[in-house]
C-alpha cells in the first residue's frame, strides 16, 4: 500500500492539477488508501520543502513537566515538588503526612519498598515506627502497593474501618459525600475489619462500606471487570477514562482536578456520551477533542473554557 501511495504522490506531483481518474478508483478500492496517500503526499512535501523554511518546523507539544510512571501531577511548582518528594523521600519520618491539592497526584516511595499513589485532595499519614506498617487516610483516594518481605502487617485505617493487606495492591476511596469507603483490590487479597465484623476481598473485587463501620460488611465483594478496574484506577496515570460517560460527568471530574474550569454553554451537549482517554490535567486538550468530535466551538476567557458557544 505504501508503495502504491508513493507512486500516486509522485504522479500527482508530476501532473499538477490534472485530473487522474485511476486515482479515484484506487482510493475507492480500500478506505485505508486515502490515509496512505495523505502520508505519502506529506512525505513528498517534507522532502521537497525549502530547507530554510523547513528548519522552522515545530512540534505542537506545549512545555510540560517531566513524567514518571504513576506520577502524573498537576501544574508548575507543585508538580515539581511532588516529583521531588516521590523520588527523594525514601525514608519517611514516623507519621509522615502527605497532603495533595487540586489536580495533584503524588507517588510516595516508602522505606520498606511499598508505594502509595495519592489522588488529588487526599490526606494520608504514614506511621511505620511501630510493630505495624500503619497508614491512616481521610478524604480522597489512594492506591497502596505493599511490599512483601516485611513481617509487620500493612494496615490502612479509614474511619472505623481497617484494611489489612495480604501481599497485594488495592485502592481505597474515602468518599465524603456518602460517608462510605470503597475498597477495590487490583491484585492479591485484603482483609477488611470493622467493629465486630470482618471480610476478605480478592483481586477483581470491590466493596463499599460505611465509614463509621456501622451497617453490615458483606461476606463477599462484588466482582468487577478488568475494564472497570482500568477506568477506576486511571487517575494515577493522570488519565480520565471515559466509556459512555456523559460530557457533563466528564467535565465534573476534570473541574475537580483543575484550576481551569470547563462550562457547557450549549445545554443540548451535556448528555453526549463520550469514549476515550484524556489527560486529567489538560482541560484544554479535552475541550479541543470534544469540540472536534461533537463538531462544536470552544471559547476561553479568564481561565474558563466554554463549550458549544
Amino acid at each position: 500500500m505504501d508503495s502504491a501511495a508513493a507512486a500516486w504522490a509522485a504522479r500527482i506531483d508530476a501532473r499538477a492539477g490534472e485530473p487522474l481518474p485511476e486515482l479515484d478508483s484506487w482510493l475507492a478500492a480500500d478506505p485505508r488508501h486515502t490515509g496512505a496517500l495523505l502520508r505519502a503526499e506529506a512525505i513528498l512535501a517534507m522532502l521537497a520543502a525549502n530547507p530554510d523554511v523547513a528548519s522552522k518546523v515545530e512540534v505542537g507539544v506545549r512545555p510540560a513537566q517531566p513524567f514518571k510512571r504513576w506520577l502524573v501531577a498537576g501544574c508548575g511548582a507543585v508538580a515539581a515538588m511532588a516529583a521531588a518528594t516521590a523520588l527523594f523521600l525514601a525514608t519517611p519520618r514516623p507519621a509522615a503526612i502527605y497532603e495533595t491539592g487540586a489536580g495533584e497526584v503524588q507517588q510516595i516511595a516508602l522505606a520498606d519498598g511499598s508505594a502509595i499513589a495519592i489522588d488529588a485532595r487526599t490526606h494520608v499519614e504514614v506511621d511505620f515506627g511501630g510493630t505495624t506498617r500503619r497508614i491512616s487516610m481521610t478524604n480522597g483516594r489512594a492506591i497502596f502497593r505493599a511490599a512483601k518481605g516485611d513481617d509487620r502487617p500493612f494496615k490502612v485505617v479509614v474511619g472505623a474501618i481497617t484494611i489489612t493487606d495480604i501481599g497485594t495492591e488495592f485502592q481505597v476511596y474515602d468518599d465524603p459525600t456518602t460517608a462510605t469507603i470503597e475498597v477495590l483490590v487490583t491484585e492479591g487479597e485484603v482483609r477488611i475489619d470493622g467493629p465486630g465484623q470482618s471480610m476478605s476481598l480478592l483481586a477483581g473485587q470491590k466493596v463499599r462500606v460505611a465509614r463509621s463501620g456501622r451497617g453490615p460488611i458483606r461476606s463477599g465483594g462484588e466482582a468487577i471487570s478488568t475494564r472497570e478496574i482500568l477506568r477506576r484506577t486511571a487517575w494515577r496515570e493522570g488519565r480520565l477514562e471515559l466509556d459512555g460517560d456523559t460530557l457533563a460527568e466528564a467535565i465534573a471530574q476534570l473541574n475537580r482536578a483543575n484550576q481551569v474550569q470547563i462550562v457547557i454553554a450549549d445545554p443540548s451537549l451535556a448528555g453526549e456520551e463520550l469514549h476515550g482517554a484524556f489527560r486529567m490535567n489538560d482541560p484544554r486538550g479535552f475541550a479541543q477533542a470534544v469540540a472536534i468530535s461533537l463538531d462544536t466551538a470552544i471559547t476561553e476567557r479568564d481561565g474558563q473554557i466554554s463549550l458549544g458557544s
Binding site: G17, R39, E41, R62
Partner: protein
C-alpha cells in the same frame, strides 16, 4: 483537483510526520507488534484525511499520540486481551511521551536530519531533482527539461525518494532497541 488539499498536506508534513517515529516508538514500548503499529498509524492518517477541519488542533503531535493511544485501547478492549496484571502498564508510555516536549522538539530536529539523510542516500540524479525542487521550486516537467531526461524518469525518482522516507520512518524505531539505526548513524556522522 486530485489528491489531498495543500493545506492538509502541509499540516501533516509539518506536525504529524515528524511525530511519527515517536508515536511508533511509544506504541512499541507499550507492547504493540510491528504490524499492529503499522495498522494504528495507518488508521490515524485516515482520520486526519477525513477530518473536516484541523484548525482546532492546537497541539497536533499530542493529538496524534492521543489518537493512536485511543485506537489501541479500543482494539485491546475489543479483543479482550487485557490481562489483569497488565493493567498498570498499558498507557504509561503514552503519558510519558505526551509530557516530554523536549524529546518532541529533538524529534523534530532529528526528523529534518532524517530528510537530509534520506536525500543524501539517494543516487545523484535523484538528489539533484530534489535540490531543484527544494531550492529552485521547479516542477517535475521543468526538472525533466532541465536535466534532459524523460518526465517518467523524474516521476520515478520522486517515487523512490518517497519510498526511502517511508521506509526510514518505519525502520527508525524498530532498530532502536537493538542498536542505533542507519539513519541515526548518518546523523551523527554528518
Amino acid at each position: 483537483m486530485p489528491g489531498h488539499s495543500q493545506e492538509r498536506i502541509r499540516w501533516v508534513a509539518r506536525h504529524i510526520i515528524p511525530a511519527e517515529p515517536q508515536v511508533r516508538a511509544s506504541l512499541r514500548a507499550a507492547g504493540a507488534q510491528l504490524d499492529e503499529v503499522d495498522d494504528l498509524v495507518q488508521d490515524a492518517y485516515c482520520r486526519f484525511a477525513a477530518m473536516d477541519s484541523i484548525d482546532q488542533i492546537e497541539r497536533p503531535a499530542a493529538y496524534f499520540m492521543q489518537m493512536v493511544k485511543n485506537l489501541r485501547r479500543d482494539r485491546l478492549r475489543r479483543d479482550k486481551v487485557i490481562q489483569f496484571e497488565e493493567f498498570t502498564e498499558i498507557s504509561a508510555p503514552f503519558v510519558n511521551t505526551l509530557g516530554a516536549n523536549v524529546e518532541a522538539e529533538i524529534g523534530a530536529r532529528q526528523e529534518l536530519q532524517m530528510v537530509d539523510a534520506v536525500l543524501g542516500g539517494l543516487p545523484d540524479r535523484c538528489r539533484t531533482i530534489f535540490t531543484l525542487k527544494r531550492i529552485e521550486g521547479l516542477s517535475q516537467k521543468q526538472i525533466a527539461q532541465h536535466l534532459g531526461v524523460s518526465e517518467t524518469i523524474v516521476e520515478n525518482d520522486v517515487r523512490k525518494a518517497v519510498r526511502a522516507l517511508q521506509a526510514a520512518l518505519r525502520s527508525d524505531h524498530d532498530e532502536k532497541e537493538d542498536g542505533p539505526s542507519i539513519a541515526a548513524d548518518r546523523q551523527r556522522a554528518s
